[in-house]
C-alpha cells in the first residue's frame, strides 16, 4: 500500500466557494478526516451514467465535464464543473442512478464524502444544506437558460453566449483588456455544448475571428471585444 495521504479542508483553495465554507474549525476537521481525496488525470471518470450513486464529490481544483450519452450514442456536455463546485448532490436526495458521466478535463483534485456522512452533516449543519440548495438552484437556472437558448437562439448567438459563460467561469483578464479563457476544450466538446455539428462550430469560430471578436493561441480562446460579443449573443437581460 502507498503512504497515507493527508488533505485538510481548511487549506483547500476552493473552501470559500464550496458548500462547507460556513463550517467552524472542528466541523471542518470532521469532514477532512472522513473525506477521500484523489487527483483524477485527464480522461479518468469520477462516475458513470447509469451507475449507483455513492455520495458527494467536491472539486478542489481543475475542471470536470459532465456529459450525457444520447440514444444515438453521441456524447453531449451538460456542463463544466470547476473548483468549488460539487457533483452528485442531486443523487443525495433521490434514489436515482447517476444521470450523467463526470470526466476530468485535466489533472483535477476531487474530494469525496459518502452519502451517510454528508446527510449527517446536512442534518447537523443547516448552512451546509443551504449551500447545497444554492448550488442546485444555480444548476437549475443554468439548465433553464441553456434549454431556452437551444430553442430560441441560432448557432451564432449560442456560440457567443457560450464564450461569455466560459469567460465568467474560466476568464483571466489580461493587462491589455482582453480576456483569456483558461480551459482547454476541443472543438467537438464546444460543439456539443451548443448543440451543433463540429464543422458548423469551426465555421462560426472563423467568423468570430474575422469580425475581431476573438483570437486564438493554440487551443486557448481570447476574447478581444466583449461588448460586441454580448451584442452577438442577443442576451435578453
Amino acid at each position: 500500500m502507498h503512504k497515507k495521504a493527508e488533505h485538510n479542508c481548511s487549506n483547500c483553495p476552493s473552501l470559500t466557494k464550496g458548500v462547507f465554507c460556513s463550517l467552524g474549525a472542528e466541523e471542518l476537521k470532521d469532514v477532512s478526516d472522513h473525506k477521500i481525496t484523489n487527483i483524477y488525470k485527464k480522461g479518468q471518470t469520477l462516475f458513470v451514467q447509469g451507475n449507483h450513486p455513492f455520495g458527494l464529490y467536491c472539486i478542489s481544483s481543475g475542471n470536470i465535464k459532465v456529459t450525457k450519452i444520447g440514444a444515438d450514442g453521441k456524447e453531449s456536455i451538460v456542463r463544466i464543473a470547476t473548483a468549488g463546485d460539487v457533483l452528485g448532490h442531486r443523487s443525495l436526495f433521490t434514489d436515482q442512478y447517476y444521470m450523467a458521466t463526470a470526466t476530468a478535463l485535466e489533472d483535477t483534485k476531487v474530494c469525496f464524502l459518502d452519502k451517510k456522512f454528508i446527510m449527517k452533516v446536512i442534518n447537523d449543519q443547516p448552512t451546509v444544506s443551504m449551500n447545497i440548495i444554492e448550488k442546485l438552484s444555480a444548476d437549475m437556472g443554468a439548465a433553464e437558460n441553456k434549454l431556452s437558448s437551444l430553442h430560441q437562439k441560432n448557432v451564432r448567438e449560442r456560440l457567443a453566449e457560450l464564450l461569455l459563460l466560459l469567460k465568467e467561469s474560466h476568464g483571466e483578464k489580461l493587462e491589455d483588456g482582453r480576456t483569456k479563457i483558461v480551459i482547454k476544450l476541443t472543438r467537438e466538446e464546444m460543439a456539443t455544448m451548443i448543440g451543433t455539428a463540429n464543422e458548423t462550430l469551426i465555421r462560426f469560430i472563423s467568423e468570430f475571428k474575422e469580425a475581431g471578436l476573438i483570437e486564438q493561441e493554440g487551443k486557448i480562446i481570447i476574447i478581444k471585444n466583449e461588448e460586441e460579443l454580448i451584442d452577438w449573443a442577443n442576451l435578453s437581460y
Binding site: M1, H2, K3, K4, A5, E6, H34, I36, T37, N38, Y40, K41, Q44, T45, V48, G50, N51, H52, F54, G55, F112, D114, K115, K116, F117, K120
Partner: protein, 127 residues
C-alpha cells in the same frame, strides 16, 4: 466464518461473511466492463464481488483476477491510502458497496460481533 488477506490487499471472505456484508451495503449489477477505481487512487467505497469477475490492473504488469467473495479497496478506504493497483469489473457482475460510514457503523455499533471482529482484525493488519 473467515476472511483472508493476500499480498495484493484483496480480502477473500467466506460465504457466511459475504452474506452478512451483503445485508449491510448496497448492490449494483454491471452491464458493461468498467473501472471501479484507478491505480494510485483511494477507492471511494470498498467493493465486494458477489457474482461475476474483475481484475486488479497495473501498468506493465500482469493482471490479477478477481471473483466472487473478493473484497477490494477496503484497507485503502479505511486507511486513507492510495491503491497500488487499479480495479476493473466485468459485465454481468454483481457487486456490493461498503462506504466508510457503513464500515464505521459496523465497527462501532454492529450487533453482529463476529463480523465486527473480522473487520477489526483485518484493519489491525494495516494500522
Amino acid at each position: 466464518m473467515s476472511a483472508t488477506l493476500n499480498k495484493y490487499n484483496v480480502i477473500h471472505v467466506s460465504n457466511e461473511v459475504l452474506e452478512r456484508i451483503s445485508k449491510k451495503g448496497e448492490g449494483h449489477s454491471y452491464t458493461v466492463d468498467m473501472d471501479l477505481f484507478y491505480e494510485d487512487h483511494i477507492p471511494v467505497v470498498a467493493y465486494l464481488i458477489l457474482k461475476g469477475s474483475g481484475k486488479l490492473v497495473k501498468k506493465r504488469r500482469k493482471d490479477i483476477p478477481l471473483g466472487p467473495g473478493d473484497l477490494i479497496g477496503f484497507l485503502e478506504l479505511m486507511g486513507h491510502t492510495p491503491s497500488i493497483y487499479g480495479a476493473q469489473i466485468s459485465h454481468d457482475s454483481e457487486v456490493v458497496f461498503l462506504d466508510r460510514s457503513t464500515v464505521l457503523e459496523i465497527l462501532e455499533e454492529e450487533s453482529d460481533q463476529d463480523l465486527r471482529s473480522i473487520l477489526s482484525a483485518l484493519l489491525k493488519k494495516v494500522s
